[in-house]
């Protein structure tokens, strides 16, 4: 492990050099050191990534099997030979799908407003943008607290009090897959907004102008020309949001994830088992960590496949889009 400072080129050389014309003579060594150090930093990051992925894939593959992803935990969640992760896969999938339903429309509409309607210099637009950026930086555990305080206690509790006053037990005012999805939707809103905005900006202005010149109104242009053109970007945003949300555990700790459930959730107000939370449980609560290691690694592998595969697809789409944009710009 190199120490933290070794990868930054030392500033010592000589600052006064700046005023003088650059000399060729000192070039070779300095060039080599500079390129070497930054290259080394890059390499180190790649190496770390490779080690993490390699370790997980290597060990995870051993415990991975068709049975593992298609069976549940009815024999107990720590049973190495019988336990599977199907309920967790389904739980995680269901919650991110529900989330997409909320976050995509809101995110896309906000992005449309920001690029098509708002003037880019007004204070108001800047405040919206600032809020979006800030939302992206709110700690995930704070989203969990928010979900508990707002969705479950305030909204859910409110529904129970005013709409279902005859039920003795809370129906909506308790952790549920619905609230977990909503919490995640709030969390991933910036992801969708930013990705959509980027793709909207990449559309040639000529397209909009042509549409308007033909007599279409602004809204028609947006709905029929701009949005279809921006679809790959919107898709990327959705995928990135899903991949981000699929791996998050902190926001759902108090809003819906269950430690253990014997059956699958059947209603929006049920709790659910979750892949990420299951990884946490397996690595900290298992009665015999050495024995359950294979299923732990296999679960991590499943989670990683889910999130990274999605991420990878999103990155590919985005890279292609950027290239197209560059071509268009020239």
């Amino acid at each position: 492990m190199p120490t933290a400072s070794s990868s930054v080129p030392s500033q010592g050389s000589d600052r006064k050099d700046l005023s003088r014309p650059f000399r060729k003579s000192s070039l070779d060594v300095a060039s080599f050191v500079f390129g070497g150090l930054t290259g080394l930093a890059t390499l180190l990051i790649l190496a770390i990534l490779a080690i993490i992925l390699g370790n997980i894939i290597w060990h995870g593959w051993a415990g991975f099997s068709w049975r593992f992803v298609t069976s549940g935990t009815s024999q107990g969640m720590f049973d190495v030979d019988q336990a599977g992760v199907l309920p967790m896969i389904l739980g995680t999938t269901a919650r991110v799908m529900l989330m997409t339903l909320f976050v995509l429309p809101i995110g896309v509409i906000t992005a449309v407003y920001l690029t098509e309607y708002a003037s880019s210099t007004s204070l108001f637009t800047r405040i919206i943008r600032g809020a979006v950026n800030n939302l992206a930086g709110v700690p995930s555990i704070v989203f969990g607290l928010f979900g508990l305080g707002f969705f479950i206690n305030f909204i859910g509790g409110g529904i129970d009090e005013f709409l279902l006053p005859n039920r003795p037990e809370p129906v909506w005012g308790k952790p549920a897959i619905f609230w977990a999805s909503l919490t995640l939707a709030v969390m991933t809103l910036p992801v969708v907004i930013v990705a959509t905005e980027e793709s909207l900006k990449a559309i040639l202005p000529g397209l909009r102008e042509a549409s308007l010149a033909l007599g279409a109104t602004k809204l028609e242009t947006i709905v029929m020309i701009v949005i279809p053109q921006a679809m790959p970007g919107i898709l990327t945003g959705g995928i990135l949001a899903v991949s981000r949300a699929a791996g998050e555990v902190a926001p759902i700790l108090f809003t819906g994830a269950a430690y253990y459930m014997a059956s699958l959730p059947r209603a929006l107000t049920d709790q659910f088992m979750d892949l990420g939370y299951h990884v946490f449980i397996l690595s900290t609560q298992s009665p015999d960590i050495e024995r359950t290691r294979p299923i732990l690694y296999a679960t991590v592998l499943v989670l990683l496949l889910l999130t990274l595969a999605l991420n990878f697809v999103a990155i590919l789409i985005r890279a292609r889009m950027r290239r197209k944009m560059r071509v268009a710009a020239h």
């Binding site: 390129g35 990051i45 770390i48 993490i52 809101i106 906000t110 109104t217 900290t284």
Partner: protein
């Protein structure tokens, strides 16, 4: 077909456009709601309205009929409708319970202390059984001790280690990718590094708990296997993609002409990068660090699993440490809803929100200015 509608749909469109505008406010609304609702649960702490004192006066059960209603309500903590719904027998039970509770209260000089007062949250206090005044976070205890200083220090410690590890690496990589790498290398290098952001934090936590902690201990031979150092390194892995992306973006946004001019004057690529591009983009680098800090201090699962979670006041990175985020995650599930422990955790959440809000705002403003400057605006 739509194109022919021309002006007819205008009123409806006007409505829809208003709708679009309203929806676009959602981000602002959410920030506001988060602050409101996380803060709301913590409000009594901020205003000193909670009382965790254990010593309370009790009233003998047979006095039930002689106490006035309002006083009984307050004594038993009942609402009007609850009081109306309870029969005499239950009320007696409740009163008997109150006395039982009082008998179980510890005979302790601190038993009548309201430990949720700010004085006890921030300053050291010599509790019974301790040799000197200390900062103690022991919320599940006979005397609930809520000093948040150990948690604040823990969060800062882990985050600083993470930044010291992540910033040089991420920055180096950002310089390499944006300035030195050829376009083809760049094309696969950038997404690959950004792939690190796709690893869920619970997986990073798992990796540091199961693999990294052991490797590091063997390497450095320190005492506690899980500590601020291991947590910091793991946290660094989560921060690297954040710092890398923003720094790379800032470096790339420095106009090509700067580099071209430097090269034309006979400088080498590294001179152009180090002396022209980096200084021009330096605010962006600061912003990257600010945002990395925000990400680090708010990260939960990594520190929950890798930090050892001991609430000690110590600046040694090889000691176990307990962060604010991990404390919320570990303790909230078992707290009494609306109780002082519950509110205390929401107070910590509010604190976290404010801190990350400020660091994000700072990072955001810096980037905005930088972009404005580089694009030739004011």
């Amino acid at each position: 077909m739509g194109l022919q509608r021309g002006h007819r749909a205008r009123p409806l469109e006007w409505l829809v456009e208003r709708g679009i505008f309203l929806v676009s406010l959602s981000a602002i609304l959410m920030i506001f709601l988060i602050f409101l609702f996380v803060g709301r649960e913590a409000l009594p702490i901020f205003f000193g309205r909670t009382n965790s004192s254990l010593v309370q006066e009790t009233i003998p059960v047979d006095k039930l009929d002689s106490i006035p209603k309002p006083k009984l309500k307050e004594y038993l903590g009942l609402t009007d409708s609850e009081l109306a719904g309870l029969d005499r027998e239950t009320l007696q039970e409740l009163m008997a319970l109150k006395i039982e509770g009082a008998q179980q209260a510890p005979k302790d000089k601190d038993a009548d202390v309201n430990t949720t007062a700010w004085r006890y949250l921030l300053k050291p206090h010599q509790w019974t059984g301790y040799d000197r005044a200390e900062f103690i976070w022991q919320p599940v205890s006979q005397i609930h001790k809520y000093n948040i200083i150990p948690l604040v220090i823990g969060s800062l410690k882990a985050t600083l280690v993470a930044l010291m590890f992540a910033v040089p690496l991420a920055l180096g990589a950002a310089i390499y990718v944006s300035q030195l790498a050829g376009p083809r290398t760049k094309e696969w290098l950038k997404p690959t590094i950004e792939l690190l952001a796709g690893i869920p934090s619970v997986v990073l936590g798992f990796f540091s708990l199961i693999v990294l902690a052991t490797v590091m201990q063997n390497l450095f031979g320190y005492q506690s296997r899980l500590n601020a150092f291991v947590a910091g390194i793991a946290l660094g892995l989560a921060i690297i993609p954040v710092v890398f992306s923003i720094a790379e973006d800032a470096l790339s946004s420095v106009p090509r002409s700067y580099t071209q001019a430097a090269l034309a004057l006979g400088s080498s690529r590294w001179q152009a990068a180090w002396k022209i591009v980096l200084p021009a983009a330096i605010p962006g680098v600061f912003a990257a660090v600010a945002l990395g800090f925000g990400r680090g201090i708010g990260e939960t699962m990594v520190v929950l699993m890798a930090s050892g979670n001991a609430s000690i006041v110590s600046w040694s990175v090889f000691d176990s440490t307990r962060t604010m985020t991990a404390t919320i995650a570990a303790e909230l599930a078992e707290t009494v809803f609306g109780g002082h422990h519950y509110r205390m955790l929401f107070m910590i959440g509010t604190l976290l929100f404010v801190v990350t809000f400020l660091s994000n705002l700072a990072g955001d403003l810096i980037i905005h200015r930088l972009k404005g400057r580089l694009e030739g605006k004011r």
